[in-house]
Amino acid sequence: MGTYVVRRLLQFIPTTLGAIFLLHYLTSLGIQLTGNPARALFGDRRPSEAQLGALTEALGLADPCLTRTGDPCVGLYFDRLQKIFLQFDFGINFNRRPVTDIVADALPYTFKLVVIAIIFQAVVGITAGVLAGLRAGGFFDYFVKVSTVLLISVPVFVLGFVVRDIINVNVGNKLREAGTLPDWFTFGVMSPVYKPDYPIASLVVPGLVLGALSLATTARLTRTSILENVRSDYVRTARAKGLAPKRVIGVHTLRNSLIPVITYLGVDFGGLMGGAVVTEGIFGVPGIGREIFRATISKEPSVVLGIVTLLVLVFLIVNLIVDVLYAVLDPRIRYD
């Protein structure tokens, strides 16, 4: 197991370097194709060449390769790598804030949001999947089928707006007026936007909206997997041994059925980190999704590079954890 983990960790290095190069190349190409973003900061007020030069220099966009379309800017790439790995310096955004500060500020919000989403999707999704799988063809099975299809077919920007404007604003206002429920619920959970006074409570609804998207997949994956395993030999053996049905389902069947579900949740964790852009926007959560959206619009290469590199690392680490979990769940899988 130890050597396996070390080998996987070593694989991180080329993956990360490659990802950074791609990001570097694409952001550089963006600047080469659409012009110096520093010019846009002056807007309609035309700067002198010296002024533009000084700002371009201050923002770290002065490398002449950024004016040659198609140039991969290899020199700039190695400069960046050196700064990132030797000084842990990811550069600054256009307001001259270090990218490391921006990420450190924004990451906790997104992390909390994604954890809420994953917990919601794991608890509700797996429970619904198990119940549906055990009574395949029954009422509950169809209920799960229909409700998950409904959830899948509503895009997040619709779901988010509807929940925010109808539930949090309108229903929320009624509840706030009535004043019978506790404040943490009416002013926290029912707040239409993130509030620093209720750092967790006001993230619950955005978390549920975010998790709702993958909830359907989790439930159906669990259902299929349960259906398959319930008919397998070892379950029959367990039953034949006279084990209590609770133990047969809860320990033997579920444990094996969870392997694909865990894989999915792992991949989804990374996906949600990057995919929270829309949800964060709708509910005003100051996370990395909002930050990367803004950076993309105003073409701030260092911010895009810093955040996406971080997401790459999250993906890699979560997938490693998932792979290690396989061995825990299924004793037949060994990594030696």
Partner: protein, 535 residues
């Protein structure tokens, strides 16, 4: 100012809800500020993320709205008339409008205890003007003697303006390169606010936890993207002390989200509202709404360097064929004010209907078009990409097409930096969209920079020695009042020559919740958050 406004527009367009917000509800809420009467309470304000909280660096609207409560300058603008009046200055005097002597009032301090004296201004201005510091507000010092030296590439970090001189602890002189009668008026801009020594010693720290001299001071640090909290500064020596105990600027990226927060009772004041919801907002807010023309000017520039556009009849014909109000109503739900001149309606010296060719008159348009000999070839209309200009520019194109039968194409694919570079290099081959916002409350700010020969933002290539002379005459007038007729004469020349087609001025909308007792707005320096009282 324009950068953020534009970014906001882009974000709004990208994130526009597929659904209009559901109806019902309203801005009512239980306030957790539990207070009453004249002063006190927590005023919760909608803001987008400021760029900087140091006056020398901040030139965007959200930053300035915070800075105006944290800092005070030599001059402020009258709450009713917008006229400049002395604030921290004891006197600002000059015999020739070129060499100005400024006396600073004693008794004001920064929140760290430093004295606000002549040095506080000199150090701020020298820092802002020096190219090596790459401060966004350096541009505003371009009238100071020595500006060119300060902006040359080989300037040293400690070089100072040759035109600034300290007389004693509370007196200094400013020498301008050329006389300018509006000098006092420009000093109310936040870029001219004083800065503490401690602030320049550690710029980053001062940006996170500003050291101001205004009616409010920073509480804690700037929580980026979340909120900025100011508390009343009890040591403030001025008369216009803050009303609310605290001002909380709640930061949002998206106006629609902020409006949902407002509806859910999380905000007390919202300055700028989502334009697509304006109709519904007006209905719901009743009398808790303030609307006024804003100073942001949108125009369609005409490339006078192109032979075909070097023809005043053609330019006027184009302008006369555009029904501005119809476009505003159809595309922007009435959220703009049609331009009938070149200067904002809020400005001293503004006159209605300066530009005869800016009204919709199809008959006259056709007549002039005949006279001009017509436009040959396909007309190209330019705008930058992804900023919501496509629809209205197409409406302009359609108007020209139906009036004169000209074939046109839209070029809306260039990103903003690229687009501006093309403007800088006079690369347009057809009418192009651009905008402008005032730098200071003197009408000259709408004239010289855009139409002066070789001026910094003259993208149409207009050159008229008489216009330049009229501006110069105004600059050299004994006072601002005496300058205005000259500036108006210059504006008349623009109406005659029409180097650009004025389209519209913005429309500012501010709304407030039930918690607010009295709302205060200043036509020059926007919402006066510090003077708003809560119930």
């Amino acid at each position: 100012m324009r950068r953020t406004a534009r970014l906001k527009a882009v974000a709004a367009v990208a994130a526009v809800g597929m659904l209009a917000a559901a109806c019902g509800g309203g801005g009512d809420s239980d306030s957790d500020s539990g207070s009453g009467g004249e002063a006190g309470g927590d005023l919760r304000i909608y803001s987008s993320e400021p760029a900087f909280l140091v006056p020398t660096a901040a030139n965007d609207e959200p930053s300035i709205l915070v800075l105006r409560q944290l800092y005070r300058g030599l001059v402020k603008y009258n709450a009713d008339s917008g006229a400049p009046e002395l604030d921290l200055a004891e006197s600002i005097e000059s015999d020739d409008n070129k060499l100005w002597t400024i006396k600073v009032k004693e008794g004001y301090t920064f929140s760290n205890g430093e004295d606000v004296n002549a040095d506080a201004f000199l150090r701020a201005w020298n820092y802002a003007g020096n190219l090596k510091n790459a401060q966004n507000n350096s541009y505003f010092f371009n009238r100071f003697a020595g500006f060119d030296d300060m902006q040359s590439e080989d300037v040293k970090k400690d070089t100072t303006f040759s035109g600034l001189e300290k007389v004693d602890d509370y007196t200094f002189t400013v020498e301008l390169a050329d006389p300018f009668s509006g000098f006092e008026a420009i000093l109310g801009y936040s870029g001219f606010f004083p800065v503490a020594q401690e602030c320049l010693d550690d710029f980053e720290a001062c940006n996170e936890a500003p050291i101001g001299n205004g009616p409010y001071k920073m509480q804690g640090e700037w929580e980026h993207n979340v909120q900025i909290t100011l508390e009343r500064n009890d040591d403030y020596a001025g008369e216009d002390t803050g009303k609310a105990d605290t001002l909380t600027y709640k930061i949002f990226d998206d106006q629609n989200t902020a409006y949902a927060a407002f509806e859910g009772g999380e905000l007390d004041v919202m300055y700028n509202v989502p334009p697509e919801q304006l109709g519904q907002i007006k209905q719901k807010q009743g009398d808790r709404i303030y609307q006024a023309p804003s100073d942001s000017f949108t125009y369609v520039g005409l490339p006078l360097y192109d032979k075909q556009f070097d023809n005043v009849d053609l330019r006027k014909a184009f302008s006369l064929a555009i029904d501005r109000q119809a476009i505003i109503d159809a595309i922007f739900s009435g959220a703009y004010t049609p331009a009938t001149g070149f200067v904002s309606p809020n400005f001293d010296g503004y006159r209605e209907d300066v530009c005869d060719a800016c009204t919709y008159d199809l008959e006259q348009a056709k007549e002039l078009y005949e006279q001009s000999g017509g436009y040959k070839g396909k007309l190209t209309l330019w705008a930058n990409a992804g900023a919501g200009h496509d629809a209205w520019l197409q409406a302009v194109g359609d108007a020209l097409k139906s009036a004169f039968g000209i074939d046109y194409e839209l070029r809306v694919d260039l990103e903003f930096p690229e687009y501006l570079e093309l403007a800088d290099n006079e690369g347009f081959d057809g009418p192009f969209r651009l905008g402008w916002g005032p730098d200071y409350p003197v009408m000259e700010t709408y004239l010289q920079p855009l139409y002066g020969s070789g001026a910094s933002s003259n993208s149409s290539g207009y050159e008229n020695p008489e216009f330049d002379a009229a501006i110069k005459e105004g600059d050299q007038a004994a006072s601002l009042e005496e300058a205005i007729p000259s500036y108006q004469a210059a504006e008349d020349m623009l109406a005659e020559d029409l180097p650009v087609i004025p389209m519209w001025f913005g429309l500012t909308t501010a709304i407030w919740s039930d918690n607010v007792d009295e709302f205060k707005y200043n036509t020059i320096s926007d919402v006066e958050y510090g003077q708003i009282t809560l119930k």
